[in-house]
């Protein structure tokens, strides 16, 4: 069964949030569509969690607006049916059992106990459901948070760093879950600071850095854009080809004799130059940047806290 897709969206308009002097989210506008997994990507401290808090009405925006399924989150009569959320910050009383935690949330909406049991089974917490949540491992806590998020069978699912603390099996499970939620027709919005994770699950990406929107595009577009035009060429006439292709927008690097990496031309462009000049090519391969590289490239100037190592490397390079 596919949910109706009309109006099932998250829509942010010039969303801004200041905490004292610090601007955590800066004039961000985007919309998250149903039926696909939208990744919310950015370095730690870039404003992802704040944006999610604004969407849920936990914090009020300093300016701008954000709506879920056409209304402010607060205005919904049954919010848990609209949005199911997993926050990065702890959101469970440590002294209460997983079962009672979910039951208390379910009761606010008149959701039956049978649904609580269903969710406990879904996330695999049956054996520890009566244990106090304070004794849970990080992974078990994440599973409990996901059970809470899905309790109301929400049209929109929003998860902040859901794979944090999960074992490989759990990570695999989350990926399948996210895809299934999107297949059901739900709006799925997932944040991560790990590009590789997004590469495996997301169809679309919203990238932020230092509170600003950097990119809003499909995953394929993201890679294409970030890798630019880069071609790997293997030829016995490397020196000659190098001279021929070099230009104001084209650079060439060579790490190995007989191999050139051409930046700024398509494989077709390089092939045509080679053919026109009678140069033999053994290999002509367009190079795709890995998503990780693409992400680093896009957010390089927007990482709030660089490691000392990165800073030193940059200073050396300068």
């Amino acid at each position: 069964m596919v949910l109706s897709m009309i109006g099932r969206m998250i829509e942010a308009m010039n969303l801004t949030k200041d905490y004292g002097e610090k601007r955590a989210v800066n004039e961000v506008s985007f919309s998250v569509r149903p039926g696909i997994v939208t990744g919310f990507l950015g370095p730690n401290g870039s404003g992802k969690s704040t944006t999610m808090r604004l969407i849920l009405g936990l914090d009020a925006p300093s300016s701008g607006d954000v709506r879920v399924n056409g209304k402010h989150y607060r205005e919904h009569v049954a919010p848990l049916h609209e949005v199911g959320a997993l926050l990065e910050a702890r959101s469970v009383h440590t002294g209460r059992s997983a079962y009672n935690h979910l039951l208390a949330l379910a009761q606010t909406h008149g959701i039956p106990r049978s649904r609580v049991d269903e969710m406990i089974d879904l996330v695999g917490l049956r054996e520890v459901a009566r244990k106090r949540a304070g004794q849970f491992s990080l992974g078990m806590g994440q599973r409990l948070g996901i059970a809470a998020a899905l309790l109301g069978d929400p049209a929109t699912v929003m998860l902040d760093e859901p794979v944090n603390g999960l074992d490989p099996e759990g990570v695999h499970w989350i990926r399948n879950l996210l895809k299934q939620l999107a297949r059901d027709g739900r709006t799925v919005f997932v944040s991560s600071h790990l590009m590789s994770e997004m590469a495996l699950t997301a169809d679309h990406l919203i990238v932020i850095g230092r509170g600003r929107l950097i990119a809003d595009l499909s995953v394929e577009e993201f890679v294409r854009k970030a890798s630019g035009e880069r071609v790997l060429v293997r030829t016995p006439q490397a020196t000659r080809l190098r001279e021929l292709v070099l230009g104001p927008d084209v650079s060439v690097v060579s790490d190995e004799a007989g191999v050139l990496e051409v930046q700024g031309l398509t494989s077709r462009g390089v092939g045509e130059i080679a053919a026109a000049n009678g140069i033999v090519l053994y290999e002509l391969v367009p190079v795709q940047a890995s998503l990780e590289e693409a992400f680093m490239e896009l957010t390089r100037d927007d990482v709030e806290f660089k490691s000392i190592e990165t800073q030193q490397r940059e200073e050396l390079a300068a």
Partner: protein
């Protein structure tokens, strides 16, 4: 966790319900009874409220023969019966603070406010629930204290007072009402401060530190001001005799109620306005 590798299929929820005040009360009840700290605080509060008068009565009865006339005159049966109120209120106040600050310290408040984003129904539910629970526990506690301490004293034929005597029933029931108001006030303080230590310290400051500090003031000032303090005003609910410088039970009780309403109003405004 065997389901982790299975093909994920999310069961659908056939019917969808809206958030109502009654449902939020039920949810808060589940939260209330599913914490160990709740059971402990209420148990201790109840125990102190009943045990103190019994010990007090037993000690008075056994020492009566050796007590001076002055000491004997100092003992009043109602003071004995309600000796537990002053101690029991502390447990009720601490639990009142914890009911809300416990959610902030653990992060539970985020889950709560995501489920009930209008927020105020949560505050009303907590206040109403706590008022009813503390009344249902404290009313029998003070009645048991009264009749049990009286029966201990009756065994020695001393300090007998009738429940029907003027002001006695009002004082005994007033003792329970006072503790209920204290619990509600403490909950509102907790909601304003959102911090367990701060909430308890503020409550203790208002109820236990400021009143004795008033004694450093000139007597005329002390007499003029002290009666309006929440602790002094509230105390009139369960005092049999009222001095020249204290309010009547009715006005004292109403003033204490007024402090509660004011604290609740501040808590409500802040709950809606502040970032969670």
């Amino acid at each position: 966790m065997s389901s982790a590798t299975a093909v994920v299929s999310i069961p659908r929820l056939p019917a969808s319900g809206r958030v109502t005040q009654a449902r939020v009360v039920l949810s808060e009840w589940t939260k209330f009874v599913s914490l160990r700290s709740t059971r402990w605080s209420l148990g201790v509060g109840l125990l102190l409220t009943i045990a103190f008068p019994l010990i007090f009565a037993a000690v008075t009865a056994t020492h009566w023969a050796h007590m001076s006339a002055h000491d004997r005159a100092d003992r009043h049966p109602l003071d004995i019966a309600l000796a537990g109120v002053n101690v029991g209120q502390l447990a009720i106040a601490v639990l009142g603070v914890l009911m809300i600050t416990g959610e902030y310290s653990t992060g539970m408040i985020r889950s709560t406010l995501i489920a009930v984003p209008r927020r105020l129904p949560v505050l009303w539910a907590k206040l109403g629930l706590y008022a009813v629970v503390s009344l249902v526990l404290m009313l029998p506690a003070v009645l048991i204290s009264f009749f049990a301490s009286q029966s201990i004293l009756a065994g020695h034929h001393i300090l007998q007072i009738s429940f029907g005597a003027p002001g006695v029933a009002r004082s005994v029931i007033g003792g329970a009402l006072y503790v209920v108001l204290v619990g509600v006030f403490a909950l509102a303080i907790g909601s304003i401060l959102r911090n367990t230590a701060g909430g308890i310290a503020t409550f203790a400051g208002i109820f236990f530190v400021i009143p004795p500090l008033m004694n450093v003031l000139p007597t005329s000032w002390n007499n003029a001001i002290s009666k309006y303090l929440p602790s002094e005003a509230g105390r009139q609910l369960f005092s049999l005799h009222h001095g020249a410088h204290s309010l009547s039970p009715l006005w004292g009780g109403l003033l204490m109620l007024g402090y509660c309403v004011a604290a609740i109003a501040v808590a409500a405004v802040l709950l809606v306005r502040r970032d969670a």
